[in-house]
Each structure stands twice: as C-alpha cells, then as structure tokens.
C-alpha cells in the first residue's frame, strides 16, 4: 500500500503512559490502512526544534503499534514510544488535541507466513502488536529491561512469554533464551522479531543455526523515510539496502549481521 504524497497534519486523540513507555494515538483521515511492520515519519507540529542543542529538527521513524478504523473515516493509529532523545521526548509530551505531522505508511512490513512466533525486545514490541492482531494465535515472547518497561506486555492479548533483564517481571532472562527453548521444542515456523541490534543479531544467529526463517524489523538512523537520503542503509549479502524502502523488515537470510553501526541507543 503506498502512502499519500507529502506529510499531513493530524491531531493527537490520546496520549497515555504505559509503564516506562508512552502511547500516542492520532487519527489519520487520509491515510490508507498500514501493514504490520510499516512505519511513519512523525514530528510534533509545535516545538519541533529548539530543544537541547536545538534539536529535534528532522522527523523520526516509528512503527505503528496498532491501527483501527477511525470514527468518521480514516484510520486511528497507536504509536508506542520510548523517550531516548530530544525527538522521542518531545513526542512523548504530546497530549490530546496537539498537532502531529505524519508521513506514511512507509516501507515494507512483515510478509505472510505460517505459524509465526513473535519475539520482541524492549520498544521492539511495538510492531508486534499489530502482528498479533493478524495472528491472534501466534506465541509472543517479550523481553524488557525491567518491570516498568514490561508493563507494555499488557498491551498484548492473552498470555505472553515474558522476561526481564533484572527479573523484576517475568523470568530473569534475555528473550533470546525464551526463543531458543521454543525453537528447540519445535515451535514456530517463522520468527518475526523486532528489538535492539544485539538482540536481533542473537535471533538471527539462533534461527540461522536452526534453519528457521526469520523476518527482522531493524532500525537505523533515518532522515527522510522515503528513499531520498541513502542515510538509513544497512549492509546485506547483496550490499547496502535502504531500510526505509527495502525494509524495515528484512529477511534474516539476507543479513550477515543485524548489528548496524550507529543504530540503537
């Protein structure tokens, strides 16, 4: 599905905290339905620029977490945010009624597969929410730093496999340990994963060893989101590809590593 051309001004209909994260909801009147794994470039309509060291200035990329038909037409989008710098901090401040610039949906999302297994690390849980809406029976494995972050697990339907780095919620483990156990017990034909670079790399390696196909939603620094700047490239077996137009979801088989210099925080 292609995006409407140009950025458009939407209105935030809700902003709420979910543990250490924030969910902002906006109604996109003109936009088409996005597909899981696709993303939007977002910028606050006010006070975008001029923060600490005069940033943010460029828009920021966000997977949509959930989409539903909006009252009165269009689609209502949820974004799950982690405030890690000036852009995400500003977006996390947005409240009902605030303006939000949005371009998208952009990029190539997850491609259909049977018996998927959903694996998320931290804020990487975001695109798994809409994936779960599509695959309600798929097992969901989530890893977080600590209990405050793990509250995002409650956004999923039904029980999920949960672990935290410090054991303050769920098991004390990395989510890749949970994944290893599931894979070793033969569960899941395809892994859909999103999370920090090191986790994705572990997922890639685990799946590669076991010859389980995996689709990984990567991150890299993006300036434009629509293939204009060549800033977001990641190395693949066939050279650099632009994550914003050829991803953000890539087939793990394409990657030598999921650790991209400069990605993550």
């Amino acid at each position: 599905m292609t995006a409407p051309f140009g950025r458009r001004l939407t209105t935030v209909s809700q902003g709420r905290d979910v543990g250490a994260y924030r969910v902002i909801t906006a109604v996109d009147r003109e936009g088409p339905d996005p597909e899981p794994g696709q993303f939007y470039m977002l910028a606050a309509a006010e006070r975008w620029g001029g923060g600490e060291s005069e940033r943010p200035w460029l828009p920021r990329a966000f997977s949509y977490a959930r989409a539903r038909p909006a009252h009165g037409g269009g689609v209502e989008l949820d974004f799950l945010l982690e405030a890690v710098g000036p852009g995400t901090e500003r977006l996390a401040e947005l409240e009902r009624g605030d303006g939000l610039w949005l371009t998208g949906p952009l990029g190539v999302g997850f491609s259909p597969a049977d018996r998927p297994l959903l694996v998320g690390g931290g804020i990487g849980a975001a695109p798994l929410l809409c994936l779960q809406d599509q695959h309600p029976d798929a097992p969901v494995l989530l890893g977080f730093r600590s209990a405050a972050y793990a509250e995002a697990a409650a956004l999923f339907e039904g029980p999920v496999g949960l672990c935290t780095d410090d054991g303050s919620a769920g098991r004390q483990a990395f989510v890749t340990e949970l994944l290893r156990e599931r894979l070793d017990s033969g569960e899941g034909q395809t892994v859909y994963a999103c999370g920090p670079p090191a986790m994705l790399e572990a997922v890639r390696a685990l799946c590669a060893e076991r010859e389980v196909p995996a689709q990984l939603a990567l991150e890299s620094g993006m300036a434009c989101g629509f293939g204009a700047c060549f800033g977001c490239v990641v190395p693949t077996r066939s050279g650099y590809v632009r994550l914003c137009v050829d991803g953000p979801v890539l087939d793990a088989a394409e990657l030598v590593t999921a650790e991209v210099p400069g990605a993550g925080h």
Binding site: F5, W57, A228, C229, F230, G262
Partner: protein, 308 residues
C-alpha cells in the same frame, strides 16, 4: 502552479528544483505511487549524482542531526553509468518535468565519458557537473580551483549542445572565481551551494560519529552562507544560478532570487516533508503576488523572463 521560467534555454513551469541527492523519484514513486507524478513537487528533477563505476557509498553511520541542519556522509552510492542508463534512466523518464542528470568524474576523461553517454539520451534535458570531488590526477578539488574547473568545462563543452550546469562547492576560498572560470569556458548555468564540510563527535565514545569521519552540512544552518555565495557569484557572472542551501519556505526561496538566483532548489527540507517543493512554490508565488513591489525594488529575476 506559478509562472514558468527559462533556465539555460529550457522552459520550466516554475523555478523550484530539487537539490541533487535529496530526492529519489524512483524510490518516492514506490513509496507514494502515482500521486507523486500527479503532484510532482519540482519544476525540473535533478538526479542523484552518478559516477562511471558503481559505488556502495560510505561506511555507516551516515547521518547526524545538527542545530537546524544535517551532516551527511552518503558517499555517492549509485549504480554506475551503465546501471543508471539501463535501469534508472527509463524510469526517471516517467517524471513529468525536465530531467537534469548530475554526474561526477574523478578525472576529465571520466567526465567526458559521463557527459557523452548521458547527453546522448533524449530523456535528459540538462546535465549538472558535480565538481565537489578531487581530480585524482591533480589532487585538487575540481570545484574549488578555477583552473581545474576551466580545464574540465573546456573539454566537456564540445561534447554536447545540452546545457551544462556546474555545481559549485562552498568549501572554496573564492567561489566567484570558480564561477567565472566555468562561465568563461562555456558552462550554461551554475548550481550552488553544495554541502559544507562538517563533523560530529559521538557523545558515547568521543570518536567521530560518521563512518567516514567527516561529511557535509546542509539545512537552514547554512542558508546565510549560501545566500552570501549566491550574491557574490551573481555579481561576478551573468550565468543563470540555481540557488540552494537551507531553503525551507517561499520566503527563503525569494531571498535567493533576490540575491541573484534564477531558480532555486529544495534539498534537506524534502526530508522533513516529501512535498516541500510544492509548498515552497506556493509560498513563493504568494510572495510574488502580495509583495510585487518588494521583489521589484531589488532585482526581479523572474519578471521579464517569466512567460505569463
């Protein structure tokens, strides 16, 4: 939209171009579909710079946001001349405005090959010569040195009747001298500015952030610098100028026209809004409409040239 202009003998429906490397019409068509062509934001489209050989581009990371600006070290990834001609050019021909192809050579003979091959194609209306790289034969940055520029343009000029636009680098002691050298040897127009050399330190490691250590600064942070160079160059040469550097609004665009440019290009602002070109054009039109006198007073680069 707006009034048409003539740029180097080519009629354009308006004065707003894109900066090379800041809009990929092929990728944008994938992202936005046919609406892109229906509402194409530029009055001529400038391709990303191509080279003779294919290039992967620079190591990662490639981007750093600065106060009101961006540092990029993209490194001119491209399919190379043959790849471009075979797979990109036919698709760029679908773009509903005249096409400018930007080329960079690391020697005059590379440039000759590029100009000959690109100019031969009907899809191409004009060529832009990106001279911001060293000549591997002399070690000098072509576009920073009047002699280098003259030697190159002199030998490229006979190869085509199509307009040759020289893109100037701002990292030069005297851009106006380079401009005069290009004019004197037969260039049809000038584009300026390219990015300014810049660098950022990764706060987590204390080492240079960019994979290539340094990059080029663009965006509103450089607008005042760009405007000065346009002003200075336009005082020295008669060639039409395509002014760029930090243009975000129609007011910014008007500033460049007032400083002596015939057309303007939107670069980094495209990243903030893919349709920025259309907005800039509409805002510029409003400046013309509402402030005729304002523009008339100084140097009305479009009136007279405009066809309606």
């Amino acid at each position: 939209m707006s009034r048409s202009i003539e740029l180097c003998g080519v009629e354009l429906r308006g004065p707003v171009l894109n900066g090379s490397g800041t809009f990929d019409a092929i990728a944008a068509h994938r992202a936005f579909g046919d609406e892109l062509y229906a509402r194409f934001p530029f009055d001529a489209f400038v391709s990303k710079t191509i080279t003779v050989e294919p290039r992967e581009g620079n190591p990662l990371p490639r981007l750093w946001e600065t106060p009101a600006g961006l540092i990029n070290s993209i490194g001119l990834p491209n399919k190379g001349l043959d790849g471009f001609l075979a797979s990109d050019l036919p698709r760029l021909a679908e773009v509903p405005v005249p096409l400018v192809v930007s080329v960079m050579g690391f020697s005059v003979s590379e440039l000759k090959r590029l100009v000959t091959a690109v100019a031969a194609r009907d899809e191409v209306a004009m060529l832009e010569l990106n001279f911001s790289c060293p000549n591997v034969e002399t070690g000098l940055i072509m576009g920073a040195d009047p002699g280098e520029t003259a030697r190159a343009v002199e030998r490229l000029r006979p190869l085509t009747e199509k307009p040759l636009i020289v893109k100037l680098t701002p990292n030069a002691t005297d851009p106006a001298a380079v401009a005069a050298a290009a004019e004197g040897t037969g260039a049809d127009g000038l584009s300026l500015i390219n990015t300014l050399k810049g660098m950022a330190i990764d706060p987590r490691t204390g080492r240079p952030w960019l994979g290539a250590t340094t990059g080029g600064v663009s965006g509103p942070a450089v607008k005042a610098i760009a405007l000065q160079q346009v002003h200075q160059v336009s005082a020295r040469v008669k060639l039409p100028l395509i002014g760029m550097g930090g243009i975000q609004s129609g007011r910014d665009a008007a500033d460049f026209l007032l400083a002596g440019a015939t057309a303007i290009a939107v670069g980094t602002e495209n990243f903030r809004d893919p349709a920025a070109g259309s907005r800039v054009a509409a805002e510029l039109e409003a400046v013309f409409r509402n402030e005729r006198e304002y523009l008339g007073e100084w140097a009305p680069p479009m009136s007279g040239r405009g066809s309606q």
